[in-house]
């Protein structure tokens, strides 16, 4: 690919990503329901929407898929976006608690009449655990292989639970844009996990064997 073609593809990727991430938020911002809600409810609701949207870019940053950014920059951004997701969860639950303490407590205590609440709480605990492990990673002395397995496992649970939670909610988000974002989040997480944990290790191992073989041949030739 020529340099200009590569640049065009990179720009197209960023534009699509921006549309899928920001579009649903803008559409929700025009929901008629917002005028019937108080500020705490609106902030709580949008914290949830922004958090869902951030779940799309988070695995892409982790894997370094985004064009035009250096890997080290993407890793740094992965950490910032992670912090932002934690903040969104806090704002989401805090805003909803101010709006209606009994409904929020019912959800947190798993006695809510709405099925989607349970998935929201699963996602919340997944994110709390992830944050705790990030902070305690070195103190716990986790090996990289273990850390990776736990972090990816939690990420998969958080994404699946969040999407299930969001899709069942009737609220400010418009249905089509919500489905689009949710499917994109699932696809991004799924593709990243399969690529990083299945395909790359497999190829790396094969290459390792081949290298090993060629090393052996070289040694032989040197004799």
């Amino acid at each position: 690919m020529t340099k200009s073609a590569r640049r065009a593809v990179a720009i197209a990727m960023w534009v699509v990503l921006a549309i899928v991430m920001i579009g649903p938020i803008l559409i929700a911002a025009n929901s008629p329901y917002l005028s019937y809600r108080n500020t705490a409810y609106i902030i709580g609701g949008f914290a949830g929407i922004v958090g869902l949207s951030l779940l799309l870019i988070q695995p892409l940053l982790a894997a370094g898929y985004l064009p035009g950014a250096r890997a080290i920059t993407e890793r740094k951004w992965h950490r910032w976006v992670g912090t932002a997701i934690v903040a969104c969860v806090g704002l989401h639950i805090g805003g909803l608690y101010i709006t209606s303490p009994p409904d929020t407590l019912d959800a947190l205590l798993l006695v809510s009449p709405t099925a989607f609440s349970v998935y929201g709480v699963i996602a919340m605990w997944g994110i709390v655990l992830t944050a705790a492990l990030v902070i305690l990673r070195h103190r716990l002395g986790l090996r990289y292989a273990t850390w990776r397995l736990v972090h990816n496992g939690l990420a998969a649970i958080v994404v699946a639970a969040t999407v299930t939670h969001a899709l069942q909610i009737e609220g400010a988000m418009e249905s089509l844009s919500k489905w689009g974002l949710c499917l994109a989040v699932i696809a991004a997480t799924g593709a990243t996990l399969i690529d990083l944990r299945l395909i790359r290790p497999l190829f790396a191992r094969r290459r390792g064997w081949r290298n090993h073989g060629s090393d052996a041949r070289k040694q032989k030739a040197g004799e």
Binding site: Y41, S100, V111
Partner: protein
């Protein structure tokens, strides 16, 4: 002495308490056998959320949306007249805690009641209303009917009340 965080005594205590709770109301494994005939309505999960006791008697709370239902006696199913039903919901006027969204009505001779209010809008992810019977002559019941669609302009439900 070193005492473990979780021992046999704490296990027996928590298991005992847990089984006592399951025998009691919400789960009701030990609820008394009911008289035969029409069974009383049980309170729904979340039904009492944002309840403000003694909502004022109103003719209407707005227009365009109808909350209706019937009130009957458990057992023989006789319609109950003059029973106060309290109603609240999130509408275009505001959330469930908005005082203008709370009102009470009395049942007619045939046990029916209805209240016109502003359009109910989805709240905490579902479009739903709240209704309460909480006046002491019968067991208290809190209902939380969910509308099949957010664009519905009515919701109806029924109370079967058990004498105290």
């Amino acid at each position: 002495m070193k005492s473990p965080f979780y021992n046999r005594r704490s296990f027996l205590l928590s298991a005992g308490l847990a089984s006592a709770f399951t025998a009691l109301e919400p789960v009701g494994l030990l609820s008394p056998a009911r008289a035969s005939g029409l069974a009383p309505t049980r309170s729904m999960r979340g039904g009492s959320n944002n309840y403000r006791p003694n909502a004022p008697m109103v003719d209407r709370l707005g227009s365009g949306f109808w909350v209706s239902g019937t009130v009957r006696r458990a057992g023989d199913g006789a319609p109950l007249k003059g029973v106060r039903i309290q109603i609240w919901a999130a509408t275009t006027l505001g959330g469930e805690r908005e005082p203008r969204n709370h009102g009470s009505v009395l049942t007619a001779a045939d046990g029916s009641f209805r209240l016109e209010m502003e359009q109910i809008v989805p709240n905490f992810g579902q479009p739903h209303a709240h209704l309460a019977y909480d006046d002491g002559a019968y067991e208290t019941v809190f209902l939380r009917p969910v509308m099949p669609s957010a664009s519905d302009t009515s919701v109806s439900t029924e109370f079967v009340l058990a004498p105290v």
